[in-house]
């Protein structure tokens, strides 16, 4: 008797392609996080995980606690309750630079570039953790210091090419238009070669064309640099297209978690976004 192997339906092809992500190890595990500012509870008992290699979106209405969530992940806030496990290591309290050392990079809702420095210098600064020349070598700029500057410059130039910002390489970022600043900021985060990249509204305030570019950069970063991405974004269309799985927060609580398709049809999500009656 012959076993008939069914041909995968066109929709399922993509599904199988993402099998990798579904079965990959968990890179970040968040358990029962709670954060309060004075009497305001910003996050209450939120748990979810991020798997290596996926694009994970965090969505929700304004004030849902999305940015607070990212701030906890990269050590800027310390949750009052709950635990964060990154790459298998559970951590109690951690300063942001330690999170960076562990491989977490970040971009910000309101661009947080070094305004007095050029594009090149900004992205080079992203390599801070990889530069190991000691003080004296830097003082005479010889040996390791000189070598490192050149090696890292190659890598930074690759990122500059990738983000198509060659023309503003030596421009002070303070004078750049918003869309380009967002790109430079992504470049700085990529320069860290992070294991986990946190993007806080990378497309806010952009026009359609710029959004398209940014989507492409995020996908490419995910595929080529194999960066795991956690993404906050308000444009639901973009979120549905980009992400593998989505967490929905509302008023500091998790109300849904699943694939884009599952989220689309979730009653509580629909209620949160459209209002329930």
């Amino acid at each position: 008797m012959m076993t008939v192997i069914p041909e995968p339906a066109p929709g399922e092809q993509a599904f199988l392609g993402r099998q990798v992500a579904r079965e990959a190890e968990t890179i970040l595990d968040i358990e029962n996080i709670s954060v309060a500012f004075g009497g305001v509870r910003a996050l209450t008992d939120v748990s979810f995980d991020i798997r290596r290699g996926e694009i994970r979106a965090i969505i929700g209405p304004n004030g849902a606690g999305k940015t607070t969530m990212l701030n906890c992940v990269n050590g800027f806030y310390h949750p009052a309750k709950g635990s964060i496990t990154f790459k298998g290591r559970k951590r109690a309290q951690m300063r942001p630079h330690e999170a960076a050392r562990d491989g977490i990079a970040r971009t910000f809702q309101n661009v947080a570039l070094f305004r007095g420095m050029t594009t090149l210098e900004n992205i080079m600064t992203g390599r801070a953790l990889k530069m190991r020349a000691n003080f004296w070598q830097q003082l005479v700029r010889a040996g390791k210091a000189e070598r490192e500057e050149i090696e890292n410059r190659y890598l930074v130039e690759e990122i500059i090419d990738f983000l198509q910002i060659e023309h503003i390489r030596k421009t002070q970022v303070g004078v750049l238009p918003y869309g380009l600043q967002k790109r430079v900021e992504l470049g700085r985060a990529l320069a860290m070669e992070p294991d986990l990249l946190l993007l806080d509204e990378p497309m806010a305030g952009m026009n359609l064309e710029e959004k398209g570019d940014m989507c492409r950069f995020i996908l490419e970063a995910n595929r080529h640099f194999r960066t795991t991405v956690a993404l906050i974004e308000h444009d639901i269309g973009v979120v549905m297209d980009l992400s593998d799985r989505i967490v929905v927060l509302e008023s500091g609580r998790k109300i849904a978690d699943g694939t884009p398709d599952a989220i689309k049809s979730d009653d509580r999500v629909i209620a949160a976004y459209l209002g329930s009656h």
Binding site: H97, R101, A112, L113, F114, E121, A128, E146
Partner: protein, 362 residues
């Protein structure tokens, strides 16, 4: 046309990242340094009488170089790392008195080493008074550095151990000796100071355009973002404090040993702190070149100001002139902060840019 860079192709990142990537710049700097090292002393030796040349060395060139060094030091902290300091005078004083104590108590130690010890002592104090910057931000530091200023003013005036028993705090440094040669002539002192200043400028320029310099500037521009990309604020801030105070301390030791010879604590009062702060505001925050330009400007201005009323036929009393002089400094500071926060260094860059594309407007 002389400043066109057409035809100069950079084929490696090393060339692109050179300190002076444009050929004309390189030649100008080589020419300037050659002139300062050889041309000027020769000119002064043959062109003028001994009195004039000595005056030029001791009243203009040597003070200019030493104060430039102090400005560069302060600029590292304020201009590059964004931490305000009103205690420059105190750190110069620490450099001076530490070097003095080493030189007097351990006469076998060479002068250069004593001066470096001054720098090291100042660096230590700088780190100690910079520690609060780790917990607090911005303007609070103005107060902690004022604390340094007033505390050390008092210490060197009242605790006679530091002044080797001198009750008034005034002391005389032993003569500076380099490789067995006593520095006595103006030329010798000048060349020694010049060498120190050139070495410091080179080293600090290297630091500011390297990894550490980027860390400082990142802290200055946005400390939170800097921490999030992995920069340790403790390391970045304290290295800035240490490097800055070390430089200022060496400048203080040179000021005392080479320029003044004998001095009292008043030589390093809070007026000196403001004086040097003004130099970097006028010259350009975050620029080594600016530190030199600002120092020259602030030194030349009073000379011009004291002559202007007389030249215009306006009789003013000397006290009015000296008040007016300081008021003009104040106005200039406000003017520069409003009109050109990056100071003379920025104007210099703009001028160069114009020259580069001359005769076309853009």
């Amino acid at each position: 046309m002389i400043y066109h860079e057409a035809g100069q192709f950079k084929t490696s990142y090393k060339q692109d990242m050179a300190m002076l990537p444009i050929v004309q710049d390189r030649w100008s700097v080589v020419a300037l340094v050659t002139f300062a090292v050889a041309g000027l002393p020769i000119l002064l030796a043959f062109g003028t009488d001994a009195f004039t040349s000595n005056y030029l060395y001791s009243a203009i060139l040597i003070p200019f170089l030493i104060l430039s060094l102090a400005s560069i030091g302060l600029n590292i902290l304020v201009g590059y790392c964004g931490q305000i300091s009103l205690g420059t005078g105190a750190f110069m004083a620490i450099g001076a008195y530490a070097a003095y104590n080493v030189a007097v108590r351990l006469p076998q130690v060479p002068s250069i080493l004593a001066i470096l010890c001054g720098g090291i002592a100042a660096a230590g104090a700088g780190i100690a008074f910079g520690l609060p910057s780790l917990r607090i931000k911005g303007l609070y530091l103005a107060v902690t550095t004022l604390a340094a200023q007033f505390f050390f003013d008092w210490l060197f005036l009242r605790v006679s151990w530091f002044t080797n028993g001198s009750a008034s705090g005034s002391v005389t440094a032993p003569a500076v000796e380099i490789l067995g040669i006593k520095l006595e002539s103006g030329t010798g002192k000048y060349l020694f100071v010049l060498a120190v200043v050139v070495l410091f400028s080179l080293g600090l320029k290297n630091l500011t355009r390297g990894a550490l310099g980027r860390q400082w500037m990142a802290i200055r521009d946005m400390d939170i973002a800097a921490e999030i990309i992995g920069i340790r604020p403790v390391y970045a801030k304290l290295t800035a404090f240490a490097v800055s105070s070390f430089t200022i301390g060496v400048a203080g030791a040179l000021w005392a040993f080479v320029h003044l010879g004998s001095w009292e604590p008043l030589a390093f009062s809070i007026d000196r702190s403001f004086n040097i702060l003004f130099m970097i505001i006028v010259g350009g925050l975050g620029s080594i070149l600016g530190s030199f330009l600002g120092t020259a400007f602030i030194m030349i201005l009073p000379i011009v100001l004291t002559r202007v009323p007389a030249a215009l036929g306006v009789p003013l009393s000397t006290s009015t002139i000296s008040h007016l002089e300081v008021a003009v400094f104040g106005i200039l500071i406000i003017f520069f902060l409003i009109a050109e926060p990056l100071g003379l260094a920025r104007l210099w860059l703009l001028a160069k840019e114009k020259l580069r594309i001359w005769p076309f407007p853009y």
